[in-house]
Symmetry: C2
Subunit: 359 residues, 2 copies
Amino acid sequence: MRIYNFAAGPATLPLEVLEQARDELLDWRDGGMSVMEVSHRSKAFVRVAEQAESDLRELLAVPDGYKVLFLQGGATGQFSAIPLNLAGPDATADYLNTGQWSKKAIGEARRYLNVKVVADEKDSNYTTVPLAANLAFTAAAAYVHYTPNETIGGVEFPYVPETGGVPLVADMSSTILSRPIDVARFGLIYAGAQKNIGPSGLTVVIVRDDLVGRARELTPTVFDYQAMVEAGSMLNTPPTFGWYVAGLVFQWLKRQGGLAAMERHNRAKAARLYDAIDASPYYGNPVDPVCRSWMNVPFTIAKPELEKTFVAEAAAEGLANLEGHRSVGGMRASLYNAMTMEGVEALTAFMAEFERRYG
Amino acid sequence: MRIYNFAAGPATLPLEVLEQARDELLDWRDGGMSVMEVSHRSKAFVRVAEQAESDLRELLAVPDGYKVLFLQGGATGQFSAIPLNLAGPDATADYLNTGQWSKKAIGEARRYLNVKVVADEKDSNYTTVPLAANLAFTAAAAYVHYTPNETIGGVEFPYVPETGGVPLVADMSSTILSRPIDVARFGLIYAGAQKNIGPSGLTVVIVRDDLVGRARELTPTVFDYQAMVEAGSMLNTPPTFGWYVAGLVFQWLKRQGGLAAMERHNRAKAARLYDAIDASPYYGNPVDPVCRSWMNVPFTIAKPELEKTFVAEAAAEGLANLEGHRSVGGMRASLYNAMTMEGVEALTAFMAEFERRYG
């Protein structure tokens, strides 16, 4: 029996995608081999790779003048790769601190250049984002970095910061493909795959041409955008199975109607869950309503001593992985693209029943 | 229908492993989720990760005092990570050049320190390895690097170099797990997974404790052995599916009788194929017989104009991916652990038939 999986990542994948991967796992495209066993330089795999890139470009409406890379190392690898590729050691980069992932990106960047934290939401316990009007960037900054959605805090920017010509860099790991975005606003977008793209071990980077070819001398070649652009992301053997599954997810997204349809789907799911939380004083969500995440919904119950009971009883009813992140406690429901409205409704029904029994 | 896949990597995997991965792809351990959808920090996945490490340690008889890491970035990522972790910019490291992969490792290392090429087999067109007696290492070298098996040239060392106390570093991507090795002879062993371990996108590093904790200041944290040791290879989300499949492969290897059994199996397969090549002047292999690879067997035919015909007709009979590497031409049969003796016999039968028809 498949359950509803609310994990924050690795996370639920579309059932159709998993079924296709399973059905062809031993004999892919009638070749008598698994896609895992196929050379990344074979015609068959190169077609998969190119189709995945083309579908991703179509879904995100990536304009000309951007490269799309399929890399290894995760978003955490990019925390290092971004300063190494975009700036020298004496440069300054502006970072917005809106949660645990921003903080990690800042910590790593500080090893490579001067970081100026131009907004810090720590005092709100990461339940807010800065007001657009309050943002002031360093004119000479090499780039501005922010985290549009914080997976742990459940906070997301309702706007794209206006940086006035400074390249904007965004860690979209937990929000990419959840809705249309205007890629032209960004210098660089990166995302670990394990939320809305596919299995872990694959990292997508979308980078504007003028930011490619500027890597520092000691950048490991696998993290040098220019080297990877020249090699079509195949400077060395890429994570082929992850790339293939990502391609299946992109095809699935197109069949769903693309990102406009995903936006409606995700907005509706989030609204349903926040409505359930707000409808009763038994449940709470600490995040400023203007920046509540559609993807990751942390919530509390009036009797924190019952949190373990909540998580365990939910799991027994097929609602899995609702425990909050260890750093914030409480509960958290992640509602990535592959989470269905049925899953959210099963959760809200369970919440009502739980309150009735224990409230 | 499954075929015999002689690809050099990504490469054939054990059928039992693929069948298990397929059977539980949608519902892993009755959890109602795919293993791809499970948090890397969940108890269930941590058990998989720990079991894989423990099985790998058992298979290779890794002594105490070594760490085992499951990383991203491929062997090519390690080409950078090794100098970054093991030596300062003014240090010298000795490298043995025995083929295309040695050469790439050397090229990357030169960016980070002084490389002394202490043996260079280029003049033999990479058909030899240096004589052990001719090797002289730099006493003050930070480490000695070599490539025990060259995937492209089909050359392998019949011995482990004696470095007299200098840490020995080996790129074992295409030979790891093919036979027992004495890990204590090495300071560091690394391998991309996509040959004898599992799907691409996973990199195994086995490193002696005294070589951990010495990374240069600007080493990307995902490439810092110390940081990864402290995090149990989970500093960030690891390639969970690859790690899981690698674990299935390790279990399969144990069921086969471990690496002593693999040695017999691989020795016999290679002997069968080299015997067929040597039995007829129609086939040739340029490698010095003392260092012919068990894993990758390049071979030529007397009429090179028929190479494409050979590859195509072999493929039509279910013997796939026999084309040689683009840099050397001819044919190549890779005989990793998962290649069966039946596959090798089907190939030698085809070779005899091809010679009869076209010779």
